[in-house]
Symmetry: C2
Subunit: 426 residues, 2 copies
C-alpha cells in the first residue's frame, strides 16, 4: 500500500467551540443564561458563564504552531488555526492531512459535559437545555455541514441516568452512535460503574449500539506525582493512566450484565494492552477464589477483547503487537488540534509504522474498524474513490498548512498550577 492509498478515519479529534455554538438550537428563554464568548483586555477569549471565566488552553489548539510556541496558557481565537473552530476550514485541514472522517470531542464543556452537569445541580432545566442544544449543534451544524466527514459524538446527561437514556435515544434517532462518559465517574462525584446506578443509561447504549467513549483526562484528574515534577512526567503518564479505567471496566458488573455494550478508550494508546491482558488473566487465575470474582464463560482478556475499543496516534510497539490484542477493535486517531497530534503529516506517520503490516490489517486499523463500530459509512456518501489520502489531499491543493510562529512565549513554569486550577473546576 502507498501513502496515497491509505484511508484514514480518526476516532479522536477536538473541536474548539465557535462563538455561535448556542445560537441556533437553544430555546429563546435560556439565551441570556447561556455561556458567552468575551474578549478580555488582555486579548484572551474566555467563555463567561455564571460568574466563571473559562479559557481555551493553548496546548489544546496548537495545530500549525511550532513546538517552541506550545504552552498551557489561555489563548485567543486569533492565535488558533481557524480549523480549530470553523468547520469549513476544519474539513480543509482534514483534506490537507488526508483524513476522511473525524470524531470530535468537546473543549470548554469538558470531555463528558461536566460543565452542564454542574449547571444542572443548581438549575436542572438550564443544564439540560444547554446540553441538548450543544448536542444538536454538534450533530446538526458541525457534523451535518459535511455528510460523510464526521462521526457524531453526544454528551451524556451525567446527573440523571434515566434522562441520560432518553437523551441517548434522542441523539441516536438523529444518527449519532457514540456518547462520551468519564474514565472514572466517581472522581466527578457520581456512583461508580460497579454500582447499578447507570443501568438505564448503559441499557439504552447497548440496545442502540452506542459506543461509550472514555477520553483520557475525563475524570478531571491529571496524574501529578509531585508538585515540583516536570510537566514531562504528566505528559508521559496521561495516556497510560487509562489503564485504571480499563481495569474498572473488565472487572465491573456492567460489562457482565451488558455483554453487547462497547466502551472506547480514547487517546489511550495500545502498546500496553498485551501486558494488561496477561495481567488480568493472571489475576483471575490466582485470586478469584478469595476475591469472589466470577467471569462466567469468559476470561478477563476475552471481556476486554470483545467490549473495549482502543486507538493510538503513534504507537509502533502497539502496531507490532496487534495480534496480541483483538485487531478488530484497534482504531486510529489524529488528535487534531492538540499537541500530541501528527497533523499535517499523519499519513506519513501512519505508513512508517505500517511498513510490515499486510494491507487488509492496515485497512482495519486505519478505517474499517472505526466505520463498522461507529456505524459510519462515508464510502456510500462520497464514493470510495474520493476517500483516500491521495484524493483528499488533491482537494486541498493551495490550502496553506505551513507552520507559523506567532510570537507566543511558552511558560513552562506554573503549568502545574494552571492544571490544578482547571482540575479544581471539575
Amino acid at each position: 500500500m502507498r501513502v496515497e492509498d491509505l484511508v484514514l478515519v480518526s476516532v479522536d479529534d477536538h473541536v474548539v467551540e465557535p462563538p455561535d455554538v448556542f445560537e441556533r438550537h437553544l430555546a429563546a428563554k435560556y439565551k441570556d443564561d447561556a455561556p458567552k464568548l468575551v474578549r478580555k483586555d488582555s486579548g484572551i477569549d474566555v467563555w463567561s458563564f455564571q460568574g466563571m471565566e473559562l479559557p481555551n488552553i493553548g496546548l489544546n489548539a496548537v495545530a500549525g504552531r511550532p513546538p517552541e510556541e506550545y504552552a498551557m496558557d489561555p489563548t485567543s481565537f486569533d492565535q488558533m488555526r481557524s480549523g480549530c473552530y470553523n468547520v469549513h476550514d476544519r474539513v480543509k485541514d482534514m483534506n490537507a492531512n488526508g483524513v476522511l472522517g473525524s470524531m470530535c470531542f468537546p473543549s470548554f464543556p469538558q470531555f463528558t459535559g461536566q460543565l452542564f452537569a454542574r449547571t444542572a445541580m443548581k438549575d436542572p432545566d438550564l443544564g439540560l437545555a444547554l446540553l441538548q442544544s450543544y448536542n444538536d449543534w454538534h450533530i446538526d451544524d458541525w457534523c451535518g455541514a459535511y455528510p460523510g466527514r464526521f462521526i457524531p459524538l453526544a454528551l451524556p446527561v451525567l446527573w440523571d441516568p434515566e434522562l441520560a437514556a432518553e437523551e441517548v435515544r434522542r441523539v441516536n434517532a438523529k444518527g449519532c452512535h457514540a456518547v462520551t462518559f468519564s474514565e472514572n465517574v466517581t472522581k466527578l462525584g457520581y456512583p461508580s460503574i460497579h454500582s447499578e446506578h447507570w443501568d438505564p443509561f448503559f441499557a439504552a447504549c447497548e440496545e442502540l449500539g452506542m459506543i461509550v467513549c472514555l477520553h483520557i483526562g475525563s475524570s478531571s484528574q491529571m496524574v501529578i506525582t509531585a508538585d515540583d515534577a516536570p510537566m514531562d512526567v504528566l505528559i508521559t503518564l496521561t495516556p497510560i493512566n487509562i489503564v485504571q479505567a480499563a481495569a474498572d471496566l473488565v472487572w465491573s458488573r456492567t460489562l457482565k450484565k451488558f455483554r453487547n455494550l462497547k466502551f472506547a478508550l480514547s487517546e489511550g494508546g495500545t502498546g500496553w494492552i498485551p501486558y494488561f491482558r496477561e495481567r488480568i488473566d493472571y489475576t483471575y487465575e490466582r485470586h478469584r477464589f478469595w476475591t469472589g470474582q466470577d467471569m462466567g464463560d469468559r476470561r478477563p482478556s476475552q471481556v476486554f477483547d470483545e467490549q473495549v475499543v482502543v486507538c493510538f496516534i503513534d504507537d509502533p510497539v502497539g502496531v507490532e503487537l496487534r495480534h496480541k490484542m483483538n485487531i478488530d477493535m484497534v482504531t486510529w486517531e489524529c488528535d487534531y488540534p492538540h499537541s500530541d497530534s501528527t497533523w499535517p503529516t499523519s499519513p506519513e506517520f501512519v505508513m512508517k509504522q505500517m511498513a510490515d503490516v499486510p494491507d487488509d490489517e492496515i485497512d482495519k486499523i486505519t478505517h474499517a474498524n472505526a466505520m463498522r463500530l461507529f456505524q459510519f459509512d462515508p464510502f456510500t456518501t462520497l464514493g470510495r474513490e474520493n476517500c483516500n489520502v491521495g484524493a483528499l489531499r488533491a482537494q486541498a491543493e493551495g490550502w496553506d498548512v505551513s507552520i507559523k510562529a506567532q510570537g507566543i512565549k511558552a511558560t513552562g513554569t506554573g503549568a502545574v498550577d494552571l492544571l490544578k486550577a482547571a482540575n479544581s473546576r471539575s
Copy 2:
C-alpha cells in the same frame, strides 16, 4: 536448556520478621521501647509498638496455602508456612523451588522503613536505633546465616539524607549493595526526587554502587479507583502503577546528576516497558521545546535503559519483547511468600516463558544480570555446580511443599477497608 539447568536468583521476596528480630543488635537501653510480638485473644499475632497493633496481612504470607484461603485478613505465625520467618526453613523452601539467591523486602516496618521514620519524628534516637538494628539483623542474621543465598537489602534513614548517606556507607561496609526507597516519597510527606533534598543519599549510593529499590506499594498508597471497586481492580493495577515512578525517574534531575546511580522497580513487571520507552521519546520529541526539558546527549529511553533495573514474576509478553528494552537490566523474581508468587514451581513457570529464548539470554534474565548488578557471587561461595535447579532440588528431597488447607475462610468484602486502614498508617 532443561529446567534442571536453570539458575534462579530472585530480586524480590519477602521476610516476615521473626519474634527475635530486635534481640541481638538493639542496644539494651532501647529494648523496652522496641516493637514486641504479642498474641491476641483472637489468636492473631501482632507487633505491639507505641500503642499501635501492627498485624501481618494474610495475603503477604500465603505460600503453601490453597488459593481459596488467600485473604487480606490479619494472621498468626501458626497459619504461615515456617519459611516465611525461619531462615533455615526459608532456604529449604528455596531449595525445593530451585531458587539459588533471594533479596528479601521487609514486612511490618513497611517497604522503605516507614515505621521507623514515623518513630523518628518523635524520637530520632530510637528511630535510628531500631532501623540500624533491623539492618544488622537482616544483613548479619538473616542473610548471614547462609552465605551465597541472600542479597542483603538495607532500609534507608528516610528522615535525614545526611544520616541516610552514613547508614548506606555503614551497611555497604558490611557487604550490602542495595537499599529500599519509596516509589513516591512525596506521598510519605518528604520532598520529591525532583528536589535537591536527597542528593547526599543518592551521591553515596552512586559512589558505592548501591542500587535503590522501589517496590510497588512503597508510596503507602494503593490504587483504589472506587470504594466499591472489586479487589481484582486493585490487584490488577498495583504492579503497573510503578509506571508513575518510572516517569518520575526518567524526567528527574536526579538521574541526570547521578548518571551511574541505578534504581530497581521491584515487582513492576516488564511487558509495559516497550510502550513506555516509546512514549517518553515521543514526549521528548514533541514537547521539550516548551517544557524546557534538556536530556543532554541522551534520549529518555536511554536514561531508562542505563539506570533502571526491572524484573518480573510471570510475564511472557515482557520476555518476548526483551529486545525492546535493555536486556542487561532485566531480572527475575519469585515473590515468595506473597500471593502472586509462583512458588514452589517457579522453574517450570520460568521455562514455559523461555521456550524460545537462547541460553545466554535465559542466563542473563534468570541470574547473571542480578549477580552483576547487586554484586552477588554465589558461584564462588558455593561452587557453580551446586547452584542450579537440579542440584538445589536434590538437597530438598523429602522437604514437604504440598499445599495445605488450614480452614481459613477468605473474606473478600471489607478488603478495601483493611487496605485503607493500612494506608492511613503511612
